[in-house]
Each structure stands twice: as structure tokens, then as C-alpha cells.
Amino acid sequence: MSEPRLQNQLEYLAYKIGHIGWGYIFMYLDVNLGTIDILPSWAGYLFILSALPVLSEYEKSAALLRNLAILLTGWAVLEWVMTIFGITSAAGSMGTLINIAATIIGVVSIYFHFQMLTNLAEIAGQLGLDERKERLLKLRTVNTILHTVLAIFSSLAFLQAFMWLTLGLALINFVNTLRITICLFGFKSDLLTTE
């Protein structure tokens, strides 16, 4: 592979990693105009979906995330539409279906982010960015644990009494997500400055 082409590929990878960074911004930041979230999570997943083919060129297992990304995008669209129409909960069989789907989506989401950050870390390792790899792995681990703990907190009524603890965890989660986003843009920058 010639050097110019390699440089071109790296630039493209950097561009797509930037997409993933934007994906995180869309997923975790909500800016609402009335009931409309103008930074919808589904747009974030679309950014990530667009980056997966490039990631899979470096890490084959990233290709396995495509179907999950489509599923998560679909769910995010549904949530976004429901919020626009002010539907916060549904009763009857529809409510049951949404409950079941939300449980499954929660599990899929945990795995999806874990695997994607693992793949990104592995790619960083392949490109000799060991420090970036370690940082991504650490952030991935913290992200997975935090999301699990927060899911437990939000589902157990008696834990919600510890409001400050829940708020503290939510804040830590926000900071960790911010760090992931910064790390991803840092990764992009690393790739663009790699000679």
C-alpha cells in the first residue's frame, strides 16, 4: 500500500471517528424546542452507523454492530416521535410491548457501546496509539459500569430515595460521556497528525 493512499485512508478513518464523536454529542445532549429535541439521539446513531463500515475494515467484529445500530436508531426515532406527541407512557398491550422492548434495547445499548469503544481502542492499538487505546478502554469500562448502575438506580424505587447519590452518578456519567467525546475527537486529531 502506497504512503499517499495510507494517508488518505487514515484521514477517512479520522473523519469517521469524528462522526462517532458527534454521534455521542447527539446521543447525550438534549436541546429541546418545545417537545422537539433538535439534537436527536437517532441522528447520533446514524453518525455511528455511517462510521461502522470504515471501522470494520480495521476491526472485523465492528461489522457485527451494524444490525444493533439500526435497531438502536429505530428505537431512538420511536422515542423521539413519542416525545414530540407528548406520549411518555402507554397503557395496555402497547405499554407491555414498550416495556419489553425498552428492556431489550437497554441491554443491546450496553453491549453496543462497550463493543464499539473496544473496537476503537483496538484500532488505536493497531495504529500504534497505545496511550489512546488505554484511555478508550478505561472510559469504556467506566461507561459500561455506570450505565448498569444507573439502570438499576432508575428501576428500583427504594434507591431513588438516595437522590443525591443518583444525581451524583448521573453527573459522573455525563462527565465520562464528555470525556469519551473529547477522547474521540482527540483520536481524530491523532490520526490527522500521524505521519
Binding site: T103, I110, T118, I152, S155
Partner: protein, 719 residues
């Protein structure tokens, strides 16, 4: 479980849990290791072992409510021995238990179900015994085969077991749990990888696990979906064993292992409890070969996400989501159908009151809103049928089914501004709540519901009386209080209002002060304090008043009742807590001196204070009102009163010249209250009533000019 409904609920809940797991597994099939793929079924096993619907919470779908409604609809017309229409579903034990002879169709269905379990288990047992008997006809393998087994054991650090060769077998298997035997097909050379597979089964006690799953299969024998699930579990167990084999093999050996599996595609599946076999049917083997093609050694980091996913499923699988919800009265006639009532009655059986305060709150709100469902939610199960029939009967009078007459004939106090205390604490309270006897769960109390206006009866109105009772002086409508004697008890883990009397209506004499409501006159005190002084005696009956915690102001709902739109909260809180206990007493000083002394008294003050403990009893010194008559002009029985900052309640009376004091002075004080926000909060952290200790004593000081101040310590003399 003891009836068909509990089985139905258990198998529906298990099926849903299995469905969720299988969907997640399908989504992550090529992503997580076979260890996770099999291990996640452990959650299902736990789910099947744990009782369902005991708490009324449900797993994502409201099966408890659906099953309860179905049970009620069917059982109300039956006289079943195993289940009752008004007994909620909920068994703490997952194994079936038959009590008595079947009577109804549903009893017989349960009997058939239990018979099916016995037949299923007996069938499995017979298969196993026949297999063991067949093994007796087997022969000891040749020395070279024995050597192969030893080599496999040595190479992979595995423990061997006795081996036999049997004619007519197509593949090897391990049979037995306590005395396992490796069974090999006679006349064929068994590949060492097949032996490795079976010895790995042996190492991980997979035969024992297969017995475990067979027992669950027996319990759900009539649920085809669960059969499918248990087949999947068996397949995942084999796939995990394949993974373990592949982890022990290298390069070409792995490919050879796949070839061996391929050669078994057309073999039959000899499934039997207590055995494990490498060959588990063509379709399953095809799936396992797919797994083998994906084989890889999963990195350690995957353990983290595997565990996190399992943890994420704990809440929906075991803790459940919101309970079915006690449905609030919907006063729209569109809901006036029997099935809706059955569903509501079922919902309330699943959402019974978990605290004493919750039972009181739910019952009171039932009375106030005339909602029979709320009353039923706080009533014993034995009274449910009668309550339901009363509700159904109200339809004939044009009411919707939730209607029950409350007999109040008045409008509950809606706003705090209408009256001073006790209305500032809400529109109801319970006086003198107490345990009937030591160790008993029975409690009694006097429920007081305050009303802004009290109506004349229809007969009185027909005779020309105004709609409301009126103040003779101002013409304003009079407040009233309805007093009910209530008995509270536990029913299992729940609290109920076991009995409630007809209301005693006490109407205020004037509108000017709520204290005109002679509530205390109608009450028996919880204790009486008495003491003797230099010139007189103290008698002080003591009353307690309990208040249930309500949402903060502003959270009142907008129920529409006969009073108009409510300005107070009418939503029942089945798990409410007590918020405050007031302690009030009516202290009376009776002068016992001579008539001559009495004639000299033109001014008298009485101060009193509750003493929590002996240490709190004052020594009699300190301030005392000796300032003389409260009014300089002539006055009869003119009095002043209040309470000092030091906690002393105070009242004074003066008499004009020529007037003679009758020798008695009384004061009512509510200067002792305990709330959950204070150092007494520990008393309120309970599902029952706060056991507030009664005061050690009541200290009183009575001052009469020209006499030594009478300082009296009164002690409790009765309860």
C-alpha cells in the same frame, strides 16, 4: 402453587422471561461467548424458582392482573376447593401442592396438571432406569480404548469414570450423576475428541444440570413454548461443551471436531434425564456447527459486559415493574360494566395496604368519595363479596359500580383556610389509636372526618328546614365532624380496616370556632392523670390524635364529587405513613378547700405541662401568673389563656365582687406533638402505628391570691 391459576401465572411469567432472554440471545448470538449464552439461562432458572405475584409487582407484562381477573371471572360462579374468587393469587412455593379432593372444573384441571407432572417425571425416571439396566449388559472396553481414555484424561487434566461399551449405539454419552458411566458404542473406534467432549460434560456436572432442567420441563409440561426453551437450553449446554473442547484443541483438531459433529447430523437425539450426549439431533448439531465456525477465545474484557447485561436483566426478571395499580374512581358511566368492576376488584387485591396508615387513608378516601373500590382495598378479603354486591346493586339506583353510600351527609373540609386546627392537618385524623392488647395485631381508634357543612336529612329538608344546619347567631352553615369507631388488623402482610361503625355526627354549636366541635366529649381518653395538692385535686384525661402523611400542598387532585371539585387529595396511598401525633389533655383543677376560702378567691390561674420523663418534672419554681384579674372592669368568668414559651399551658379566670368561683377551672392543651421530622422520627419508621410513650407525669401550678401556690404532679392512674 396450589391451584391452576397460580400455575398459569407462573408459566406465563416464566414464558415471558424466557422470551426476553431468547430475543436478547438472538441479537447477541454472534457477539457473546457460549458461556454467556448458556449462563444467562440461570436467570430463567431463578425466575422459575421464585414465587410470582406475591408482591403484586409484575415482570413487564401485567400477567398478575390478567390472571387474577380471569380467575375471579371464572371462580365467582364455582365452588372450588383449591381457589377462591376473592383470595388473591400468590404462592410462595413453586412446586404444586394439592389440598383435598377436586370439586370444580378448575380443581380438576389442576389435578390433571399435577398428574401430568408425575407422569412426566415417572417417564423420565423409567427411561433412566432402563438405560442403567442396559448398561449392565455392556462390556468393558478393550485395553486400547481404556488407554485412549486415560490419555485424554492425562492430557487435559480431567477425571475419568468407569466406561462400558454397548451394542447398537451411534455415539458416546455419559450416564448418571452419583456413579457416572462413560458409555461408548461397541464395535466402533470412538475418537478421543468425542471422549474429551463427554469427560468435559462429566467435569462440569452437566448430567446433574440436565436433571435440573428436566424437573422444570416437568413443571411446565403443558406449555409448548417452554419445551422449546428447554430444548434451546440443552443445545446451549452442548454448544458450551463444544467451546470447551475447542479451547482444548489446536488447529486441525478443531476442524476434525467439526467433521465429527457433521457426521452426526442424521443421528437421532437420545435425550434422557441424567445423561449427556455429544449427539443431540440433526437440527441442533447444525446450529452447533454454526457456533464452531464462529469459535474464538473471547477476551477477558468481555466478562465485564456479560455480567453487566445479566445485572441489567435482574430488575425486570426478579424485582418487576410497577404494580398493577389501584385504579382511581372513574366517574364516567362508560365504565359501568361488570368486567371492569371485576378487573378493578382484582387490581385492588394485588395492591392491598402495606401499612396501617395506608389502610386508614385508603378507607377514609373510600368513605369521602363514596368509592367502594377504595373501601374494598382496605377491607378484609372476607368482606369483598358483600362490598362488590353492594356496588353492583348501586347500579339499579343509577350510580356507577364504584358507588357506596358513606352516610356522611356533609361536605368534607376542603380548604385549610375555612377553619383553624384541627383542619390545618387535613380533613381527617384518628384519635386514640391503640393496640387492643399486648402482642395482638388488633388496634382500635376513633376516625374523625371533618366537614365544612352538615346537611339536614332529606326528611328535615322536606319539613321546611334549610339544606344546611345554620348558626343561630350568624346564619352561617355549621361545621361538623363524623366519628367512626374503627378496628384495624393485619391480614397476612397487609393491613385492613376490620370493622367500622356507623358515624356519630357531632355538629358545632356555632361557626365561630372549631373548638365548639365537642369531639373530646365523645371520646374515651387513652389515659387519665390524677394528682392531689394543698388546696385541690387535678384530673387530666389524655388523648392522642394521629395524622396520616399526605402529599405536599398543591398536589390535591381534582376529583369531582357531590361537593364540587375537591380541594383536597382523594387519591388513596396504600403504603402511607403517619406524619404526626398530637397529645392533648383536658386538665381540671377542683378546689377542695373550705367554702370560706372559696369566697375569698377573686382570681385563679392554672398552668400545666406534660413531662416526658421523671427528669423533665419541674421543681415548682419559675414564673407564675400572679398579675391579677385579666380585666380591670367587672366580669364574670372572664378568662385568658394560651401557652407560654416554656411549654406551660395557661388559663386564668377572675370574678367580680360578690361572685363566687364554683371551685373548678379547666384548660385544654395540645402542646405536645411529635412528628417524623423531629427526634421522634424513629417512632414513625414503622408499618404499624408509632408507639409513642405516654408522659411520665403532668405538672400543674394553680395560683389563688392569698394562698400558697398549689404545685401538683399528676400521675397516670388508668388507660
Amino acid at each position: 402453587m396450589s391451584n391452576i391459576w397460580e400455575f398459569l401465572l407462573m408459566t406465563l411469567t416464566g414464558s415471558l422471561a424466557a422470551l426476553i432472554i431468547i430475543i436478547i440471545k438472538a441479537l447477541l448470538v454472534d457477539k457473546l461467548s457460549p458461556r454467556w449464552q448458556y449462563g444467562i439461562w440461570g436467570l430463567l432458572a431463578l425466575r422459575l424458582l421464585l414465587p410470582v405475584a406475591v408482591s403484586g409487582r409484575y415482570i413487564l407484562a401485567p400477567f398478575p392482573l390478567l390472571t387474577e381477573t380471569l380467575k375471579f371471572t371464572v371462580e365467582k360462579n364455582l365452588d372450588s376447593a383449591y381457589s377462591a374468587a376473592f383470595e388473591p393469587i400468590g404462592s410462595p412455593w413453586f412446586l404444586p401442592l394439592i389440598n383435598g379432593h377436586p370439586v370444580s372444573i378448575t380443581d380438576w384441571l389442576f389435578a390433571v396438571y399435577v398428574a401430568g407432572i408425575i407422569i412426566f417425571i415417572a417417564g423420565s425416571l423409567i427411561s433412566y432406569i432402563r438405560l442403567r439396566l442396559m448398561l449392565r449388559r455392556g462390556s468393558v472396553p478393550a485395553a486400547d480404548i481404556q488407554q485412549t481414555i486415560s490419555q485424554v484424561c492425562e492430557k487435559h487434566a480431567l477425571k475419568a469414570c468407569p466406561a462400558v461399551e454397548l451394542d447398537g449405539l451411534t455415539s458416546a454419552f455419559v450416564c448418571g450423576i452419583f456413579r457416572p458411566v462413560l458409555v461408548l458404542p461397541a464395535g466402533n473406534v470412538t475418537d478421543e475428541k468425542v471422549i474429551l467432549h463427554e469427560l468435559l460434560h462429566l467435569k462440569h456436572k452437566d448430567a446433574l444440570q440436565s436433571v435440573f432442567w428436566t424437573l422444570f420441563r416437568a413443571l411446565h409440561w403443558c406449555n409448548p413454548f417452554m419445551h422449546y426453551i428447554f430444548n434451546q437450553i440443552g443445545n446451549d449446554m452442548e454448544a458450551l461443551c463444544d467451546q470447551r473442547v475447542l479451547e482444548n484443541l489446536e488447529g486441525e483438531e478443531r476442524r476434525d471436531y467439526g467433521q465429527i459433529l457433521l457426521s452426526m447430523v442424521n443421528e437421532k437425539y437420545p435425550r434422557a434425564a441424567g445423561t449427556t450426549s455429544i449427539s443431540n439431533g440433526g437440527k441442533n448439531i447444525a446450529h452447533r456447527i454454526e457456533c464452531i465456525t464462529r469459535f474464538k477465545k473471547y477476551p477477558r474484557g468481555m466478562a465485564l459486559v456479560s455480567v453487566c447485561i445479566a445485572v441489567m436483566l435482574i430488575q425486570p426478571m426478579f424485582i418487576g415493574t410497577t404494580a398493577a395499580g389501584l385504579q382511581r374512581a372513574d366517574l364516567s358511566p362508560s365504565t359501568n360494566d361488570d368486567i371492569n368492576l371485576y378487573s378493578n376488584m382484582s387490581a385492588l387485591r394485588l395492591n392491598r395496604c402495606t401499612t396501617m396508615a395506608g389502610a386508614i387513608d385508603t378507607y377514609v378516601k373510600g368513605l369521602v368519595t363514596e368509592n367502594g373500590l377504595y373501601i374494598a382495598a382496605a377491607s378484609p378479603l372476607s368482606s369483598q363479596e358483600e362490598l362488590m354486591n353492594q356496588m353492583l346493586a348501586s347500579k339499579a339506583d343509577g350510580w356507577i359500580y364504584t358507588h357506596l353510600e358513606n352516610g356522611l351527609n356533609g361536605e368534607p373540609a376542603q380548604t385549610y383556610s375555612d377553619f383553624a386546627t384541627p383542619f390545618s392537618n387535613g380533613y381527617y385524623s384518628v384519635y386514640n389509636l391503640k393496640r387492643v392488647s399486648e402482642g395482638s395485631s388488633l388496634h382500635t381508634g376513633e376516625l374523625a372526618i371533618y366537614m365544612e357543612y352538615y346537611r339536614h336529612t332529606e326528611e328535615e329538608i322536606a319539613q321546611g328546614m334549610p339544606v344546611y344546619y345554620e348558626d343561630p347567631e350568624t346564619g352561617g352553615w355549621l361545621p361538623a365532624v363524623a366519628l367512626y369507631h374503627i378496628t384495624l388488623d393485619t391480614e397476612g402482610k397487609h393491613w385492613v380496616v376490620a370493622d367500622c361503625s356507623e358515624p356519630e355526627i357531632i355538629i358545632a354549636e356555632t361557626i365561630s370556632s372549631v373548638s365548639n366541635l365537642a369531639v373530646y366529649d365523645a371520646l374515651e381518653p387513652v389515659a387519665v392523670y390524677k394528682g392531689t395538692g394543698l388546696h385541690g385535686n387535678i384530673t387530666a384525661p389524655l388523648f392522642t390524635e394521629f395524622f396520616v402523611k399526605q402529599p405536599e400542598s398543591g398536589q390535591q387532585n381534582s376529583d369531582f364529587g357531590f361537593w364540587g371539585t375537591a380541594g383536597f387529595n382523594t387519591t388513596p396511598y396504600t403504603n402511607a405513613q403517619f406524619e404526626k401525633v398530637d397529645m392533648s389533655y383536658l386538665v381540671t383543677y377542683d378546689f377542695t378547700g373550705s367554702e370560706e376560702d372559696l369566697e375569698k378567691i377573686y382570681y385563679v390561674t392554672l398552668e400545666s405541662m406534660i413531662c416526658d420523663s421523671e427528669e423533665d418534672i419541674p421543681d415548682g419554681s419559675g414564673s407564675l401568673d400572679t398579675s391579677g384579674p385579666v380585666s380591670s372592669g367587672p366580669a364574670i368568668n372572664q378568662s385568658g389563656g394560651g401557652s407560654s414559651s416554656s411549654g406551660w399551658g395557661y388559663i386564668a379566670e377572675s370574678f367580680e365582687e360578690g361572685e363566687i368561683w364554683n371551685g373548678t377551672i379547666s384548660d385544654r392543651n395540645v402542646n405536645k406533638f411529635l412528628t417524623y421530622k423531629t427526634e421522634f422520627s424513629d417512632y414513625f419508621r414503622t408499618d404499624t402505628m408509632p408507639e409513642i410513650p405516654l408522659p411520665a407525669a403532668l405538672a400543674s401550678k394553680c395560683y389563688m391570691p392569698g394562698m400558697e401556690t398549689d404545685f401538683i404532679i399528676s400521675r397516670e392512674v388508668s388507660r
